[in-house]
Each structure stands twice: as C-alpha cells, then as structure tokens.
Symmetry: C2
Subunit: 355 residues, 2 copies
C-alpha cells in the first residue's frame, strides 16, 4: 500500500480531465457532479447580506440586451418578429450555460468507470440558462404578468425540446433568487439541468406517490389539495385551477407549494392560459412573501414527471418555493432532519395577511 | 369545502400547542420538526460575512463560567474534583438545550395523530448542548489536544447514557462552526439530538452498507479505507488508527471524512486513548482547512450505529466534515444533486499542502 507520510505533500496527479463527471457516494448512493469548469463562472452577487436579497451589481450584465455575445447561442427565444437570433429584440431567451455542470458533448463510452466502491460516469447532460426579461430586473415579482407567464411557457417549451434527446431522462428546472439562495448573477433567470438519470428527490416523490396510489388508488397530491382546501389552515391563495399551500412538513419556514387542482403529472400539458393564471398566482404569493419576510432569498423548483413519461396516475407536477429563512445546520446537513420554528399554519396565516 | 376567499384573512386558529412535533412529508416521507419554542433562542451570530466565521460577540456569553444559571442543569460535566454541579470548575459541560427542538416530557400518547396524508407525532426526544471548554473560544482548533479529546470522550459518554432511555433510537451528534453553518452562539460547542427514530441520512447509510455487505461480505467503509490508502490521491492525513480522506462524491468542496481503520460500528467502543488520537488528527486537518480556505464555516457530524445496536458487520462509524464552501442552490435543494467545482483529489492535495 502506498501511504503518503502524514505531512508530506504528494504531487497532485489526476487522471481526470476538466470534463464534468457524476460520482456516486460509495455508501448511500447519492450522486454528485464534479465540474471544475464551473469554478470560472462570474459571481457578481457576493452576498454580504445573508438572508435577504442583494440587488446592486454592475450593469450591463451578461444577460442584458446588447451583451448576447457574452452567452452561447440561444436555443429558444421569444422575440419580436423579424429580429435575428442572438441580438436584441427578445423578451425571453434561453442559452446553454457558459459554465455548465453537465455537457452534451462528453464521450460517454470512453470514460465510464464502473466499480464496487468508486463509481463515476461522464457528466452528460444539458445545462441551460433562461433569461426571463431583457430589463435588468433582479426581482421576478417586478415582471409583468405576461412576462411572468412567458417563464412558465418557456419551461414547457424547453421540456418538450429536451425530451427529443433520448439520452436525457429528466430536466430539472429551478430558479435561485438572491445570493443566499445560490444565485451568482442578479438579472432574473431560471436554470435547466437535464441529466441521464432522474434526480434522487424526484425519484423519492415518484416512489412515495406510487406507494400511496397502490394503497388507495388515489393521487397523493390530489388528496392533499382536497384536504388543504377543506381544512383551510395552510391555504395561502387559490385561483380557478391552482392552489398555493404552506408545506405540511417544511424544510424552511414559509416554504410553500403551488399545484394544479386537476390531476396532471406532465408539466408539458400546461396551456398558455394556464401559464398566465399560474404566473398571476405565483406573483401574488411571492409578493406577499417579500412583504412578510423582508424580501428573503429563495429557490423555486419544478417537480414534474420525467421526460417522455406517460401520464402517471400517481404523480402530479408542482412548484416548491423554499425561502432561505434559516440556516441549515448539522442536524439538517448530517441527518436530513429539518427544524422549523414557524408552524406552517402560522406561515400561511401571515402570508394570507400580506396578500 | 371551506375555501377562504383569496385575499381574505382567516383568523389564525391552531389546534397545536407550542410543543414540538414531528411531521411527515405527505409525499416523500421526509420527517421535519416543527418547534415554535426554538424561535426564542438567542442569536448572537448574525453572520454578516457569509462564508467565513465571525468571532465577535458579547462576552460573557451564556456558555461562559459564572453564567451556569443561564443554562438548564448539567447532565454531564468533566470538572475539578470537589466542585459542585452547575457552578464553575468544569472543563466540559453538557446541558439540556434551553430552546429544544425535541423534548423528553411530551405526552406521547395524548397527541399522536395518524393518517393517510398528514402524519404527526409528538416531538419526543432529548436536545443537549455540549460546551466544550470554559474559555470563550470560538474556534475548536484552539482547544488543547486534551480538551479536544474531551469532546470525543463526552460524545461517547452521552451516547451511553442516552441509550438507557428505551424510547430513544438514535442520538445525532453534530457541531456547527460559524453563522453560515447554522451556529447561533460562538462559544465552541456541540449538540446532541436524540430521537425515537433513526434519521433518514443514517438509515440510507445503514441500507447502503447492508446492500454492499450482502453482495461482498465486506464492510463498505473498510473497503473504502483500504482503497483510499492504496490510491493515496484523496488521502489527507492518517494516524495509527484513523484516516482522513476527501469525500469521493462531495456535497461541498473540501468535504472530508474521518474514520477508524479497524472496523467499528458503535462509537461507544472508542477508548480514551483513541479519543486523543482522533482529536490530534482532527485538529491538524481542521487547521489545514482553515489555512487552505480562510477559516470557512463548517459542520461536522457523527454517523454511528443506533443506540443499543449490536456490533454491525456492515456499518462503520465515522465523522463527516462539511465546509460551507459554496451556497447550495435550486439543483441541490430541489433535486438532491450536488455540484462541486473543486475535485476531491485537488482538495486533498491542497489540504495535504496546508498540513
């Protein structure tokens, strides 16, 4: 056995390139991505203020019109008729992430390594950035209803396109608002990371939903929606087709979920009209959250059926909003156990009051 | 169905007391603790500096000698012979958490609620704080070797005592250093949270270890240790009986694990001599981390066999150290997928160089 002496510095030799790779935790099986290339991404939001958002940064940023040369070529844009790609004239623009965590061009066969303990596989996938408006807005609630609806339409449009690549199983769609929530640039944007595997958190929900369905022949989300409507105490707001509720077992105080009332596993079925209705509801609740919690940093993410999935009876797409209202500590990170000091019923009450 | 009008504020009525409760996520089954009482805890580390530690705070703090009246009565203390409990003269002191997430005195039968969707159970358990030294040190690497060893001895002593309560299945032991890692007080301390269930993250490791053992008749951690010693590239430091290695599939850059070389599932078997050896190794590697990453905030936590467990062939106790070197964002929070930009091999090289 080659044991470096304690304190002696062995030269750093790696058999890895700079290419991203997935690695499986040898014990619990959790996947991680090692992506050295991403360390070169610009960080303009250093976040001196930990809980709340920070809006000051240089302008124009790489996401502003006229800076299209700063981003890779667009893969989707909603733009004025007649304006050429990769120039101004857009109102929403999706581009590959310039500092991707995963890449579509890795040599999948050449470097797959299987093993009993150390399992790695190339970081195949697509990482995209959705620039949600041309104006340098850092707060999504400042978008008009139409622009906000564009975001939800564009999620759908990208999922439909990404599904055409048979190597990809899932597209994770998420948004980081504020440095504390992991945003590195302020200009309001979402991200998509499509991977060859369904992420663990979605697998856990699919499995939980299936188990509930097997026992009851009902969708757990449909059941949840009906119960929350009946009980009312965790209800924040609703529209004709959507519901916003405080999460029953939250990770963070003021965590809330938004889901369609009618069963739908596939987000791709969302109509333009429904996208607008969803946008109006989300904007209202996020504005209430900003009022109630002094503009906290937050993430939202979309949990939907995997790409090319059949309509599943046991799963129901939804958005989860996680405000960074506390700092997870050892109990959360080490044991997966989340403590909240604000009961969801209290949070819902405060958010209703702030609507 | 009772549906509040959107915008109308229903009065906040709750059928809950202030008592902590466990709640199960209706979909994926993750447990959370709702503990309103904890919102009253003092927070002296507001953490204007997000990544690094902040040491300034009022003194004397509630953990300093002479302030013993500020904490509940000690359940363990290493103190000078003849000094009375709950006064000065101690070098390490364990007290119930004054703002507990779980409590030993909840009425377990009275308020257990089962259901298909909303499952809650009283927040039974014990939450304790281990004050690691009388001096107002905020940095554990400033402890003498002997004091540092006291911490690892006291973990063992508390696990042995907590195991006497048959209602408790597991005691989560962890430490938060720096506001960004969730510490609310700077005076160096650890925490113990003992619960009637084994936490999800430990269950996942127990299950992963068992699966590996079933296939190979080997402990995955023993295998990992042997392979890391042989390969050397993720090795940070070792002593006669312990190993510190960069995690193969890290959640955060510079994450490292410390484990005994000889198989041991139960932390309770740790000898005083081994506690000292472990302390010396941990101090060295943490000091290197401080040098390499400018004193980052971090957590460490102990993963060990459940209380009153038999010696398990498939599990192996270990410490995991998670430096807060990046801010988890939507991909991490929403999908359980962690991205690191520093390869573990690079991290190990840097930490070896900083030893």
């Amino acid at each position: 056995m080659k044991v470096p002496l304690t304190g002696a510095v062995a030269p750093y030799v790696t058999d890895m390139s700079d290419e991203p790779e997935f690695r499986r935790d040898p014990v619990c099986g959790r996947w991680a991505v090692v992506a050295p290339e991403r360390s070169r991404r610009p960080m303009t939001l250093d976040g001196a203020e930990p809980r709340h958002r920070k809006n000051g940064e240089r302008k124009p940023c790489p996401f502003c019109p006229g800076q299209e040369h700063d981003t890779p070529r667009e893969v989707l844009a909603y733009r004025e008729p007649g304006t050429p790609a990769d120039g101004p004239g857009w109102r929403l623009r999706v581009v590959p992430n310039r500092f991707p965590a995963v890449r579509p061009d890795v040599d999948e066969e050449a470097c797959s390594v299987g093993g009993m303990v150390f399992v790695t596989t190339p970081g195949l996938g697509r990482a995209e950035v959705m620039i949600e408006c041309p104006e340098h807005l850092t707060d999504p609630t400042k978008l008009t209803d139409g622009r906000f609806a564009d975001v939800f339409r564009a999620y759908r449009d990208r999922l439909l396109t990404l599904a055409e690549d048979p190597r990809l199983a899932y597209a994770a769609v998420f948004k980081n608002v504020g440095a504390e929530a992991g945003a590195s640039l302020g200009h309001t944007h979402s991200q998509l990371v499509a991977t060859p595997v369904v992420p663990d958190a979605v697998e856990a929900e699919l499995a939980g939903g299936k188990e509930f369905y097997t026992r009851t022949r009902r969708c757990v989300f449909c059941d949840l929606a009906a119960r929350e409507l009946a009980a009312g105490k965790r209800l924040i707001a609703r529209s004709a087709n959507f519901l916003a509720v405080a999460a029953y077992a939250p990770r963070f105080a003021y965590e809330f979920w938004v889901l369609p009332l009618a069963h739908a596993a596939r987000y791709e079925t969302l109509s333009d009209a429904a996208a607008l209705e969803l946008a109006v509801l989300m904007k209202r609740v996020l504005t209430a959250l900003d009022r109630a919690q002094a503009e906290p940093a937050y993430n939202w993410f979309l949990h939907a059926a995997p790409l090319r999935s059949a309509e599943l009876p046991h799963f129901h797409w939804h958005l989860e909003v996680l405000p960074r209202t506390a700092r997870p500590a050892g109990l959360e990170w080490g044991f997966g156990c989340y403590i909240t000091t604000v009961a969801p019923e209290q949070a819902a009450w405060e958010l209703r009051a702030a609507l």
